[in-house]
Subunit: 260 residues, 2 copies
């Protein structure tokens, strides 16, 4: 490395097709996004750098805007990292943006908001083209019933019923401030924004709404589950392939945006 | 097969992700869509049936609504074939509709209209998620210049300049009655409808428009090429992965629609 190298913490925006990965986090049973990024970084800067992601997405889950931080010491200008890293990364992982952040910045603990998208292909036959990024539901779903059910999610609630085992959250209270369900032909898109989500929470919400759209669960089930804190009041966990981590937000960016 | 089996000609609507195929047509160097369909049909009806496609899409080209005809003799009701065939087909090929047609129907020679879609991911870095169904162009394209250029395509013209070697068309005169260019964030979508297209014609149009959007070719080039019939007046052939055969139309369906 050149003698102009300065140690710095970088914030990365990462997009990936999660189909061929065991998930974000390093695991022994297959390739992870984290590992692919760390290997590309090692090639780029000549030493191992630990990457810390904002969200530990599961196997098969995609990301348009995952975020991660990493400490590097190299003579590469911060904004040039996408070009360098994408040279070494597989085609299904792209770093789309990098910037320097303060040394105490933490991609996961400082995340102030997240937007998730869940896509349903609602047609008699699965989609050949969208098969890896949609859940296929052959029976026509009642989107109005799904919307009525989802209304109960808005606000600050104890979402204990919405967490799969294996989560490590200290509290199960979360705030959801936006939930949208749109139908465009055969595609139904759910978008949910909140300050944070429990393990499998979005997939449990999506699976429950699919059951409601089917008529297998009533529109009151979501409100009831918030009250009861009982996972059994909710539906199945929807398939990972339909889920995308669309955006992760930080307060310092919101402040920048409000100043601009 | 049961003794209720009746010989009949079927019209299939087929959707596929062309990424892992050598193209529509049977080839020795790898799997084709046609071959996959014929193998699935053989499993379904117990004998080999030749499938004839409306369009011989190239390697890597996708289809939302390819059409094909085939003669079968089996006790399966015509509309049930998608369910049977999709059981045997790989996930990246789906038959979405089947119907009985007259015995002299021909999917290719009777095609009266086709709609193609070409997708460009116009962003500094390629898309991890859309990598197989978009052409990546890192430089911001001038969509207004592309629109101005594409206007020359509308109408009935001799498109001799727009054909790659290897085509078998008797005439190079074609009619294009619709051309739309839309930008949605980082995605630019071209849609072109006409009565037929020469070999590689849509990819040559897309590649030329990308060159015009770049400023490497002037907006008059398309009109000039129609006049000159010279392939050299046009730009590069855009990558196959951005192209999708969206729809194939037949007169008998148009008549049904107008009666309905």
């Amino acid at each position: 490395m050149g003698n102009t190298a300065q140690p710095m913490r970088l914030l990365l925006t990462v997009s990936y097709d999660g189909t061929n990965y065991v998930g974000w986090q390093y695991q022994e049973n297959g390739p992870s996004i984290q590992q692919a990024l760390e290997e590309a970084l090692e090639k780029a800067v000549g030493r191992f750098c630990r990457v810390t992601g904002a969200s530990r997405t599961d196997a098969g889950v995609h990301a348009l805007g995952q975020r991660a931080h990493v400490d590097v010491c190299a003579s590469i200008p911060p904004e040039k990292y996408p070009f360098v890293l994408n040279r070494y990364l597989p085609e299904d992982i792209r770093v789309t943006e990098t910037r320097q952040v303060k040394d105490d910045f933490h991609a996961r603990f400082m995340a102030a908001g997240k937007l998730y998208t869940y896509r349903i292909h609602n047609a008699p036959h699965a989609s050949a083209i969208l098969r890896n990024c949609t859940a296929h539901v052959p029976v026509t779903l009642d989107v109005d019933a799904m919307r009525a059910c989802a209304k109960a999610l808005i606000g600050t609630h104890d979402f204990a019923a919405f967490a799969a085992a294996g989560g490590q959250a200290k509290t199960t209270v979360r705030t959801i401030d936006f939930f949208d369900i749109a139908r465009d032909g055969e595609e139904i898109t759910l978008r949910v924004h909140g300050n944070g989500f429990l393990y499998n929470m979005v997939r449990i919400i999506a699976g429950t709404l699919i059951d409601v759209g089917h008529g297998r669960l009533d529109v009151g089930c979501m409100a009831r589950a918030i009250e009861s804190k009982n996972r059994l009041d909710l539906g199945v966990t929807a398939p990972a392939r339909g889920l995308e981590l669309t955006r992760v937000e930080y307060d310092f960016e919101r402040e920048e945006a409000s100043r601009a």
